[in-house]
């Protein structure tokens, strides 16, 4: 027995001294092709629906402060709460004079001055020049101002204003006549996106969530923007941007829906965007962003 106790003591001490670790974990690298979701906040100040976001139904969500020269083509669908869908086509081109900054009377930087250096055509339709209006709130007062002009073509619910049609999954021509010097190229457009929003659970039970479906297309990922309509104002404020694999399905967890304050917002807008995008530099070293996108916005009641 003495011998046994000696052995037991030695083993116990040995185990105590050397056995305090635990098996090594296995670290798995992310090789997932199907599941990716990248979350970003868009509307940081939910009390200022016009500040800095530049969100509109064209899908241009970049901050105007940072926006480079832009050529954009959009095929847009909007489905209201009655499941009625309107379609729009929209093209625009904006060029900035980056030497000229425009500030509000209160000294707030609003953006660079925009210019119209020649004639712009989309699919041989001459684009109109219209003011590039930005809206901001200062000292509690809503203000409008222009940064200059931009080129635009539009058709949709309010009539075929410009006889312009956005074509999905094809090539559309852009042409710029710049003081006799002509620049022309074709812009590819992605497969049309058609989304569907299925609201699951209920807000009262605290499990309201949204299951989003869309048709799979020809881009590696799509962007989903979740916006909310400011109560009684008809203004949609973007809240989050989610970039996810173009795999046709995404569950928006409860926490993203239930946290939207009802006192501020009454509807949620899910915007599905499938986009081709490329960046070029012109002769003067300015960035030129060329994008084409298919957009489907679906409005649902938050209550």
């Amino acid at each position: 027995m003495k011998k046994l106790l000696k052995y037991l003591f030695i083993v116990s001490v040995g185990l105590f001294l050397f056995g305090c670790d635990k098996p090594a974990p296995t670290e798995l690298f992310d090789d997932s092709q199907d599941d990716l979701a990248e979350f970003e906040v868009l509307g940081k100040d939910i009390n200022d629906e016009f500040y800095s976001n530049g969100f509109d139904t064209t899908g241009v969500t970049q901050d105007l402060h940072e926006l480079p020269n832009l050529i954009s083509l959009s095929g847009i669908k909007v489905t209201n709460i009655h499941k009625e869908t309107d379609e729009f086509s929209f093209a625009q081109s904006i060029f900035f004079e980056r030497a000229v900054k425009i500030f509000s009377p209160g000294g707030r930087f609003l953006g660079f001055r925009s210019i119209t250096p020649g004639i712009v055509k989309f699919d041989n339709k001459i684009a109109r020049t219209v003011p590039l209006i930005v809206r901001y709130r200062e000292n509690g007062v809503l203000q409008d101002t222009t940064l200059g002009d931009k080129y635009t073509l539009f058709s949709g619910r309010h009539g075929n204003l410009d006889q312009f049609r956005y074509r999905h999954n094809s090539m559309m021509n852009f042409r710029l006549n710049f003081f006799g010097q002509e620049v022309s190229f074709d812009i590819p457009t992605p497969v049309e996106i058609t989304g569907n929003v299925e609201m699951l659970g209920s807000r009262n039970h605290g499990d309201l969530r949204a299951l989003l479906h869309w048709n799979r297309g020809n881009t590696p990922d799509i962007t989903i923007i979740i916006g909310a309509r400011v109560r009684d104002r008809g203004i949609v404020m973007p809240l989050y941007r989610i970039r996810t694999r173009d795999d046709g399905e995404l569950l928006i967890p409860t926490r993203f829906i239930k946290e939207i304050p009802l006192q501020n917002f009454d509807r949620v807008v899910f915007t599905f965007i499938r986009r081709f995008e490329s960046t070029h530099q012109d002769n003067r070293g300015n960035d030129l962003l060329v994008s084409s996108q298919s957009i489907h916005s679906i409005v649902v009641n938050l209550n």
């Binding site: 052995y7 090594a24 974990p25 296995t26 979701a37 939910i46 946290e259």
Partner: protein
């Protein structure tokens, strides 16, 4: 987000490379993975540790398990603490958050599967058949980062960690059948019983350990004493085969295993060397996988295939393990074994002296050791003995088989007049207070009046209660004191016998055995009280009266030679042949026998059933003796036996 993940808690995998119902080692039986029935060889207490190093990106070491086992008779209880039975996974969830500076931060998840402890119970119905159950406790720690929006004056996203801990028990049943020393089988369930918590978070539910019900069959073949071949097959289509060899105190083992959830086909091997000491067993084993375990694994594979075993899965690292087991036997190892017991004598309580001289049973005993063993046999008959009666010590050579005699002592106080079927317990002790082996056998316990028909055994009835006979004889002789006082001393025995006989028969009648059987004999005082008996009873009674006053007697057994068997008696007059004429001139009425000290003495034959008077009984006895014992050469032929009472 994810489809169901195939994660199972176990398969039949042993870390030390030994498993199956190994006849030589206890250590493999601590592994519930291959021994779900908790089968055990441990005689008393057993303790086992598995400690090992794991060759991950960096080498780290830990305790894998600490097991305790206790055997109580045919029951075995065990408990196992398994701090090293865990597998942790860290991976990106596939979600990311874009922060203020437009950089992307990935969200991570940490899933940890643990088997914390287990309990086992088994019951050995026989050396061949046993069954048992094991219960094991698992916990699963899930932690996953998520993005949550916070609405305040500003809207921002935060990273949160959601946690869930899910505990559950699993239980499995198993049976073992040892066909012989060369072959045994085991059959056990996998995930038969499952009870506990379930994940509330749907994201985690997909990652819970799977609990599909399966079964496993184990076969061990021992082609030669020095080797064991084990094979286990699971209905999951996983299997493993091992060869264990022994050489003196050393052993080696090699296990090859196929896991349906791992590749290649033979996923790995477990080489082992072992040493068996007096009180401990030592194993050094290695787990070597045949696929690269240090490569970077993708999360997709984990999601698609999961794991089916916490300690043995596609992500397990190579290991080097040390297993130490102790056999803490306060119950010593059995040195001898009793194969059978043969009862050679039924118990006739009145023959008590007979059992002191001759064993009533023999045990067939095997020495199980390599050394000479001193065996102390003991026996106890229920209803007769209150304590064990020790028999002579036997010495048994190594691995020899001998017949060990068992003796019994019938206490004088035993007085049952009923014939009963009782049982005797036989014990073999070597060098401790605990018997090495014991055996129980039925034994016929006769009444105190029972007789086996052997005339020689009537002497035990004669000697029984001799005091009562002496009191009676003295009283009779005292009444005839005046007659006796006038006689020569040489005739004292003759006249005492005569007086006692005449008084004895005066109130007796001959009756057949009241039990209608020759196996019932009355004690002398019973004959006097009942006033009658058959030849056995009357001869016993008269002999007892004579012996009680110092007159030497002998029973004469007339075996009958096909006729009715008969008993009467002789008594010693102590007269010399020259003095014979003092009692008779007929030399056919007496017989000369030589005493121990070489003197010739006159013996008279008395027919005790002649209930008339002494002279008639003497005459009849002498005639019968002359005829059957002498003229017909009965003594020479062995048909007539003379049995001296003392």
């Amino acid at each position: 987000m994810f489809a169901g993940v195939n994660i199972l808690s176990q398969s039949s995998f042993g870390l030390n490379g030994y498993w199956g119902l190994s006849p030589s080692f206890n250590t493999p039986l601590y592994g519930y993975e291959s021994n779900s029935s908790n089968y055990s060889h441990v005689r008393d207490w057993g303790l086992s540790f598995i400690y090992g190093a794991e060759f991950a990106q960096k080498t780290n070491s830990n305790i894998y398990s600490i097991s305790l086992s206790k055997t109580l008779s045919e029951h075995n209880l065990s408990a196992r603490f398994t701090p090293g039975y865990q597998k942790e996974f860290i991976f990106n969830t596939g979600e990311a958050i874009i922060v203020e500076d437009s950089t992307s931060q990935s969200l991570t998840a940490n899933f940890n599967y643990k088997e914390l402890f287990g309990l086992g119970y088994s019951y050995k119905f026989s050396e061949q058949f046993s069954t048992g159950v094991t219960f094991r406790f698992f916990t699963q720690d899930f932690a996953q980062e998520i993005v949550s929006p916070v609405f305040g004056d500003t809207l921002f996203l935060i990273r949160e960690t959601q946690n869930e801990k899910i505990n559950y028990w699993k239980g499995d049943l198993g049976i073992n059948y040892i066909v012989n020393e060369y072959l045994n089988f085991s059959l056990a369930s996998i995930n038969l019983l499952n009870f506990g918590e379930k994940a509330e978070n749907s994201d985690f539910a997909k990652f819970e350990i799977k609990k599909e019900i399966n079964a496993m069959l184990g076969i061990s073949v021992i082609p030669i004493d020095e080797a064991v071949i084990n094979f286990i097959y699971e209905t999951t289509n996983s299997y493993q085969v091992s060869l264990n060899g022994y050489l003196s105190d050393f052993g080696f083992g090699l296990t090859l295993f196929h896991d349906e959830y791992q590749s290649p086909t033979i996923a790995g091997m477990i080489p082992t060397i072992s040493y068996k000491g007096e009180i401990f067993e030592l194993f050094v084993s290695g787990v070597k996988y045949f696929s690269n375990r240090k490569k970077n694994f993708g999360v997709t594979e984990f999601i698609e295939n999961g794991i089916n075993n916490i300690v043995n899965n596609r992500y397990s690292f190579d290991k080097l393990l040390l297993t130490v087991s102790f056999n803490i036997n306060t119950v010593k190892e059995r040195a001898v074994k009793m194969i059978d017991v043969e009862i050679v004598k039924d118990i006739y309580p009145t023959f008590s002296e007979n059992y002191i001289d001759y064993p009533f049973a023999y045990g067939t005993v095997v020495n199980l050791t390599d050394e000479y063993v001193t065996v102390k046999p003991m026996a106890r008959i229920e209803g007769v003995n209150e304590e064990n009666i020790q028999s002579p010590i036997s010495y048994i050579a190594p691995h020899d088989t001998v017949r060990v005699p068992f003796y019994v002592i019938i206490p004088e106080s035993y007085s049952s007049e009923k014939v009963e079927l009782s049982y005797a317990d036989f014990y073999l002790f070597t060098n401790s207070d605990q018997p090495d082996d014991q055996f129980q056998k039925a034994v016929l316990l006769n009444s105190i009046n029972s007789w086996d028909g052997r005339v020689s055994n009537l002497r035990y009835f004669i000697k029984k209660d001799l005091d009562l006979s002496m009191n009676h004889a003295k009283a009779v002789l005292s009444d005839n004191k005046s007659v006796l006082d006038t006689l020569p001393i040489a005739l004292e025995n003759f006249y005492k016998a005569k007086i006692l006989f005449n008084e004895y028969v005066s109130n007796l009648v001959y009756v057949s055995d009241p039990r209608a059987t020759g196996e019932y004999v009355q004690f002398p005082n019973q004959t006097l009280e009942l006033r009658g008996g058959d030849c056995d009873d009357l001869s016993v009674g008269y002999s007892s009266l004579l012996e009680s006053v110092g007159i030497q007697t002998a029973l004469v057994d007339y075996k009958g030679n096909g006729k009715v068997r008969h008993v009467n008696l002789l008594f010693n007059t102590r007269l010399s042949p020259n003095q014979a004429k003092l009692i008779t001139n007929n030399d056919t009425k007496y017989f000369v026998r030589e005493s121990i000290d070489g003197k010739d003495e006159i013996w008279l034959s008395i027919e005790a059933t002649s209930l008339t008077d002494f002279e008639t009984a003497w005459k009849l006895g002498a005639e019968k003796f002359n005829k059957e014992a002498i003229s017909e050469l009965g003594i020479a032929k062995g048909i007539v036996n003379i049995i001296d009472i003392y």
